[in-house]
Symmetry: C2
Subunit: 420 residues, 2 copies
């Protein structure tokens, strides 16, 4: 069999370490030139395959590829685009096969969350049916940490570190000012469905009184009275109260806290996120001076404060994906397996795509303290290793120097693709 090419694509919301996975994929493929021809990266994810926009990564220098390891976001472009089922949109799958055949692509590596693993799994099945077998390997990625089987998801550890560091620092700021000024600080973090990221902020509390004093999880129905009582008690005891709120924080009826105000009298939808909403509630009810922050993309792009553990794992799953493909595995995803010892260790295992697809791993209730406002020791034990180690990018003129790629496209061979 002649050397086949490999297609790699990034999918969904990006992270500060997804390019470390890309780096693992490309560097490992380059070490196996006898088996793998070119590595194509989809320009803007799977859409790049549909449109036949294939970035020829062989045109990128060794240095540029190495720099991916410390470059945040999706260097080849990502997309929010979920393929429908084969029955619903046969045309898309046929097109993908056509592009893969035209460019002699026999390896498909898809770097994303649950949806992407599902897509990779479907393509694997279809390729067998079509008699053009493609090795499909998933590469796990999501800041939400909600992939099953794998002990954690690459991308999460770095956001976790960012939020823990940020609330520690902002907490000290408020502590300095609280005697005569700001008494309450609210920081909003990501995690629409699960409180993993919010919970990670709890790692900043190493001693009694350390920020954050309150965490609002999506998993715990918001109880306004209890919340306000807790703030008052924190201000009384420590002089201030630092709060981390998940964007997914919910009322008892399952509605998002931030949507509670709904539209105003002019029909304008509320501007803010949940942080300003919560901050204003505190001001109205308790009268405390407040500040609030919404980290938004800053948290998931913060490569400057990435977790070294996370970077290493992100690279390792990229590397393993290529090794799996070369070992003849198919429809699997490298997973992170935690060692049993007291001291944290991890290795790469494997998970079937069919078992990963469309399953969300929620935060266990025993990770949240009884009063619902902080994390437990069990949560600390799980979370703490994931944020360990610093892995600083290179700086020039005070600014991190991230990879700049040529992103040269392979010559097209097929007719233009039109979205149906």
């Amino acid at each position: 069999m002649s050397k086949a090419n490999l297609f790699y694509a990034q999918s969904g919301g990006v992270t500060s370490v997804i390019n470390a996975s890309a780096c693992g994929v490309i560097e490992t493929a380059r070490k196996n030139k006898d088996k793998i021809g070119k590595v194509y990266a989809g320009l803007n994810g799977i859409v790049g395959a549909l449109r036949e926009n294939l970035i020829d990564t062989s045109k990128e220098s060794k240095q540029a590829i190495a720099a991916l390891r410390s470059t945040p976001a999706g260097a080849f472009g990502s997309c929010r685009y979920k393929l429908k089922s084969y029955a619903e949109n046969k045309r898309e799958y046929e097109r993908l096969m056509e592009v893969f055949v035209a460019h002699n692509i026999r390896y498909f590596l898809y770097n994303g969350g649950g949806d992407s693993q599902d897509t990779a799994n479907k393509i694997s099945q279809l390729s067998l049916e079509k008699g053009y077998p493609i090795t499909c390997i998933g590469v796990p990625k999501t800041v939400d940490n909600d992939l099953p089987i794998t002990d954690n998801s690459p991308g999460f550890g770095s956001v976790a570190k960012y939020v823990a560091v940020s609330i520690r620092e902002a907490g000290l700021d408020v502590a300095s000012m609280c005697d005569s000024s700001t008494k309450v600080f609210v920081m909003e973090v990501m995690g629409r469905h699960a409180g993993w990221i919010a919970g990670a902020a709890g790692l900043a509390t190493e001693q009694e009184g350390d920020a954050p004093h309150i965490i609002l999880f999506p998993e715990i129905a918001f109880d306004k009275e209890k919340f306000l009582r807790k703030i008052k008690s924190s201000v009384k005891k420590y002089g201030y109260c630092a709060i981390v709120v998940s964007e997914g924080a919910q009322n008892k009826d399952g509605s998002f806290l931030a949507d509670a105000g709904g539209a105003d009298a002019f029909g304008h939808v509320q501007l803010g996120g949940v942080a300003p909403f919560v901050a204003k509630m505190i001001k109205d009810e308790l009268g405390y001076k407040y500040h609030w922050a919404v980290a938004d993309y800053l948290q998931r792009a913060a490569r400057h404060i990435a977790s070294a553990t996370d970077v290493n794992q992100a690279y390792a799953v990229g590397q393993a994906a290529v090794e799996f493909a070369l070992a003849g595995k198919n429809a699997v995803m490298p997973a992170i397996v935690r060692g049993k010892g007291k001291r944290y260790s991890w290795k790469i295992g494997e998970a079937k795509l069919s078992a990963v697809a469309n399953v969300e791993k929620m935060m266990p209730r025993n990770f949240i303290s009884r009063d619902g406002f902080h994390i437990t020791d069990a949560a600390r034990e799980y979370l703490s290793p994931l944020i360990q180690g610093e892995d600083y990018p290179k700086y020039k003129n005070g600014i991190p120097q991230y990879a700049r790629l040529k992103k040269q496209l392979e010559k097209k061979k097929l007719r233009k693709w039109k979205t149906s």
Copy 2:
């Protein structure tokens, strides 16, 4: 003359390097034990002197004081408390003198912005009149960079670095997603009166097309049509648009952009900052999907990404303040003097408190590009050296380990102070 004690206080909004100045003060005083007795730090700033809450820093270990160099926020507590003029509130000044006399304090070092330098100056004059001369030295600090005479203000360089790094990272995130998702990102930064911080974000633009594409300065009246046109053109050229908006961005009539919506029909003041306001305007007018972030305290507390230049200068002004005091100088402030050479250099000079007090240094118009949306080369030349170098704190378990002080108070000798 017997050895006199020194009183040091932190004032106003804190920064990620004000404790580096405290470290410079205390370490230098400790090296001069033959001349300086104890160093007292005011608990929560000048209010600590009024209340006779004097932290005895001699009880802190050498290690704890050294750790201040890499600890953000105000380790002794700061305050938003401006002394009135002597004529308006004689009682406060009398009390300060009383506390200083009771504790044999002959050196007063005040670490703050323009208001604080004014206060230090007043105390200096008064002490002479009262026949109990106190050496008053200002220690410059402000993220706003608005102190005159000194080339820049310690605290600014680190915020500047934070915003430049953050918009570079978030910009890459948006660039990855823009093909099928978010096209506009708005990041709000501090700077109510001047655009120094917003301008510093412009350092992230090193090549054509780099984020940020638009900066909204307080100095440039907001022009909605021009702004929307610029966004459209950025999206057309680069696929996305990353915007940095100063919290002080203003309309032509001088009103803050964020206040434009005013109160809603229920009389509630708008929740959001200017970022969500601007983001929603873009959505309404151009229909682009957007994300926004408000860094708030995260930016000025971000010791993890402090500028090494800033840390060194913050330490140096603390050190120089003590050296000035010992050299018999009075009513002055160490100032940063930029060298004339092409290569950036700096040394410590001195500024009279009377010349510093209550003067705001605004950003020159020639630092802002002609179209009002970015910085010029002149601005780059000034700003770039201030964010150079990284000065990472120590980490344990993935979290920065910041100084934890005992903050043991000196025994009180006077009656309790009541605010009038």
